[in-house]
Symmetry: C2
Subunit: 625 residues, 2 copies
């Protein structure tokens, strides 16, 4: 169910009471805020509940509110900005939010360092019990120094020492390692830890160095990264970040379009992602460095990256055009081993990046990782596993058969395209319940509410349905005290402005409900098609596994209430957190797990929903609440 | 015999008759010219016999006299220059020679396109009769298009088609190819020529494309490049160029120093070399394109590069510091297969660059190539082979043993450090003879003489010795009519200014003779050490092979006269042209030849001259003329 058209969300200039207003699209936080003429970007962001830093109080003398203009027109840089930024920075669109005033509708990127409140992290998925079998091992060497009677080249003396030690394989010296090996051996006085990937030398490190690995899950919207000790399997540090590509398009289709339209678009998307991942790596090393100060990024000798097929291709620098047009085939579906230095990932210069198989254009390596960590391939129970995101991948395991499909569920669950929507950050309403006939809300960190994140919206709609304010088509039906007319359209006020954290009403509109109907309808369609294909009815599903950040926080009864999931007994549902990240870690720590992942990818039968005969019929039914 | 000290040729400001004069060191042509105050760089170059282009006649409206300032101070850019150059160009030192006036001693780089007269090419070496066995072959494929019923990834459909065709090896898709394969296959409507290197896919080309290979000899001073048809072995185009690194140091030691002193020095040296090689590749493709217009650099699917160990390391981006300090060991001595895209060589994006083994810090892959093409390893005659250059490598083949050494012969034979010296360009005196008691000169292209190239200097000194103007120590002895005093020092006038092409006398000074003595003494020392080590006398040498451009043009009797070579019968000498280039071509066209080259490198016993017990003694004797 791929909508291959480019949906251009043209910002429409609203002229009201002779007053100019502009729409500012803040990314990667995914929030659209109206800026009144003469209102600075900083004030606009603050009005929108975006925790943009402002250490100096908005007078232009610090750079904590630094943002980047992606699209649209701002007032010219002030003298303060010209003093703070280099010409290159200004040319790249960097500005101070406190010094910039919109002159048109805008897309603005907020760099991670300019946000005060961190986004809520993805929940760490459970990892299977695996035997450690890492792709890279440490070999401690004392290498004889060159002398007038020993004129062997550095490579030869290293090889000879390795052969004496343990390694009997043909030894290969990777080129990026050769670029620095000679001076490093001399710096370490010829006592060194060599990171060996079978016969391939990956890194030359000081004697007795730990070897680290990196597991990354590149989501369309969010990134999750884990720094692990390859020898013990322990997680030394973990963190999340927003995918900076959201500034160039919220979903995969608009990113494909971006890379189609601009000649270097693909390169830009890749570079921005890698830049952010390099910041993430720095952060991880800093955190892990607290307990072991000798740790730095040079110790990261292997990485595993998972993501949907478009993220996978953009990360690896592969063409994506053919993923945006029928029949949506990947450039590559086999597992890849990339050179970190080629991709620009700042880990050991000779390190490899393993990327597992894709299943199809819209079922990617992240889904394979998820199937690995949830053990779906080895269960003999009829099980559905799905990872809800901007794109939702679903697999049904039944009778040793694995059936997969993909649905374009869109970014509504991330709070995008929802009037009061926001990401799962402090102040977001994450839960709505009816208690003694009244709607009660709960926010992240118990702050005054400033918007609603996906789980909150889901709950709210389920509540409105339950109390009969909306019907099964999503239309407002009765005149509830909280339903009001705004611009001739009905909306439901969840929180009055006097109780909110930003002085604005938090409401749900008919349009919001429509967005959620499309999203949940897409997911339900996928589930129904897989069941129909396998000849099963919903109640035959014994386990229903929900992965991903959103999937972990949602209230299952609400999801059943609005018809996103079939009405199974609640004990059949399992919310497993970031299962893709867990799978990536398993593949980081074990070569056997990589083999298993490859086998899974080969076993899966992919069902293309848009070709499925009964698709339209199932989809129309699935839209009802 | 490595002189590891950095010889800084500090330009000394000469103040004479209250008139300022500056020394301008033009590179890569290797010529020092005195500029009088108020004399433009263009006039200075013209005075020095340098064929700097000047289409507009020096009025600043064309950019044909474009040069680049490496060191020193020029007058500020004029308005004309500001109009012609971008800010980046000006910042990088680009200027117009006609608009620039020296304000200090200078080092100036002349880009190849600013020279009117091409340098005399290296003579193409003879290639052995070899059987074609190229590393890359062409496979013509018709690949089924993706469709709704065939959703295989592009890589899978290519692999499946290859397997059906011929290839039974495990097929590997190199990453740089994947970056462009998907759009290319669609552009070519799924009919393509695949360049396969065993199981590795190197390039996707239009159907029925020729596959080309590139053989490059990177000399310290000169580059030679050959474009070959991999299927027929034919040379499609060949060209020479100056090594742009000469602007950063004339010999290998000063280039090592440059990369030691400046943090990104090694990168700069590599980048400049690669930039020039990319221009050379363009030129080769243009030439070959005359007979086959479909040819372009994407068809070059393999390259072989040879060079001395320092050139090899700098080309490949390897550390060179340890080559400049005792015991002078290479970072790498094994054969390398580099990725062209990693090095930045603009040939097929997936192409590999093969670099054969080094023998030692100062006996490089170029010497291995030379031993291969001269058949030295398979002869049963006692043979000496040497390649004269800034560094001269010598091998003695005797009784199935190969003994090699290296001597720092310096750049004097290239015309550098010789007052009237110049490279072998039109107008250079290349031959001096005594005819009826008088010195007669012959110039390249029979132009009015403007300087002397290496072979001419050698001849001239041999003549001076023969007529008794100088003695065996190199001192002027008798008062010949052509010997005069200049600044209290004697010099011999070869051509009076009224007969020269630039209105200046062409002379030989005591200092010039000294430079040649050091150079030829170094070479003779190497020869004598190898003979002594093998227990041979010079007359037991049955073949004496001289490779390289300079070695091809020299007059053997002159070289014997001044004691550079032993006095063997002339028919034992063989001048074979660019034998390193010929060896590189052999390795380009045949995998068997690569194996042979590896075997040669392993067989060679390297003799480090500076450690040889009798070295000083032999060297002192070798200095005599």
């Amino acid at each position: 169910m791929i909508i291959a058209a480019l949906i251009v969300s043209a910002g429409i200039k609203i002229i009201m009471k002779n007053k100019l207003e502009y729409t500012v699209n803040f990314q990667p936080v995914g929030k659209r805020v109206i800026a009144e003429a003469g209102q600075s970007l900083l004030n606009t962001a603050q009005d929108g509940g975006i925790a943009l830093a402002s250490i100096c109080g908005g007078v232009g003398v610090c750079d904590s509110c630094k943002i980047r203009l992606i699209n649209g027109k701002l007032t010219d840089p002030t003298l303060e900005e010209e003093a703070l930024f280099s010409e290159i920075d200004l040319h790249s669109g960097f500005r101070l939010a406190c010094q910039s005033y919109p002159l048109s509708d805008l897309t603005i990127e907020i760099p991670p360092e300019s946000l005060t409140a961190p986004q809520r992290l993805q929940i760490e998925g459970r990892i299977q019990n695996i035997e450690l079998d890492p792709p890279v091992i440490a070999v401690e060497l004392n290498i004889p120094e060159p002398s007038i009677t020993d004129l062997r080249a550095d490579t030869i003396r290293v090889k000879d020492s390795l052969v004496q030690k343990v390694i009997s394989l043909p030894i290969e010296l990777s080129f990026p390692v050769l670029e620095t090996m000679s001076p490093l051996l001399r710096t370490y006085s010829w006592h060194a830890t060599l990171a060996m990937r079978k016969g391939l030398l990956i890194a030359v490190l000081p004697a007795n160095s730990p070897l680290l690995g990196l597991a990354i899950d590149v989501g369309t919207t969010k990134l999750a990264a884990y720094l692990c000790d390859l020898m013990t399997g322990a997680i030394l540090a973990k963190t999340g970040a927003m995918n900076p590509q959201t500034a160039f398009g919220e979903d995969v289709i608009s990113r494909i379009s971006y890379s189609d339209i601009f000649s270097n678009g693909r390169k830009i998307l890749q570079t921005r992602l890698i830049d952010t991942l390099n910041q993430v790596i720095e952060q991880l090393c800093l955190e892990a460095g607290r307990s072991n100060p000798s740790i730095n990024a040079d110790h990261i000798v292997e990485a595993v990256v998972v993501g949907n097929t478009v993220m996978h291709h953009l990360f690896a620098g592969l063409p994506v055009h053919q993923l945006g047009v029928a029949p949506y085939v990947p450039a590559v579906s086999e597992p890849l081993e990339l050179d970190a230095y080629h991709i620009g990932l700042k880990i050991a210069h000779g390190a490899k990046i393993y990327i597992p198989s894709n299943i199809a254009g819209y079922v990617g390596a992240d889904h394979v990782a998820m199937l690995l960590s949830t053990g779906l391939s080895s269960t003999n129970k009829t099980t559905i596993a799905l990872d809800i995101g901007t794109n939702t991948e679903i697999t049904l395991s039944h009778n040793n058969q694995l059936l997969s499909c993909s649905c374009a569920s869109g970014p509504a669950f991330e709070g995008a395209h929802i009037q009061a929507g926001m990401r799962a950050a402090p102040g977001a309403i994450e839960r709505v319940q009816i208690i003694q006939g009244e709607l009660r809300t709960q926010t992240i960190d118990n702050l005054a509410p400033i918007g609603m994140c996906g789980s909150g919206i889901l709950d709210a709609i389920a509540c409105l349905l339950q109390i009969g304010v909306i019907d099964h088509r999503g239309s407002f039906t009765i005149n509830h005290p909280s339903v009001r007319l705004m611009d001739k359209k009905r909306e439901f006020v969840i929180v009055e402005h006097q109780n909110s954290g930003n002085g604005r009403d938090i409401t749900i509109t008919r349009q919001d409900i429509n967005e959620i109907q499309l999203a949940k309808g897409a997911i339900r369609t996928g589930i129904e098609v897989l069941l129909e294909y396998a000849g099963l009815s919903a109640d035959m599903v014994e386990h229903f596994i929900i992965a991903g950040a959103f999937g972990t926080y949602i209230n299952i009864p609400s999801a059943i209430q609005i018809g996103m999931f079939p009405a199974l007994p609640l004990n059949r549902f399992h919310q497993v957190g970031n299962a893709a990240g867990a799978g990536a870690r398993q593949m980081l720590l074990s070569l056997e797990q990589r083999q298993l992942a490859e086998d899974i990818a080969k076993r899966v039968k992919y069902i293309e929903l848009s070709n499925y005969p009964n698709f339209s019929n199932i989809f129309s039914k699935s839209l009802f609440l």
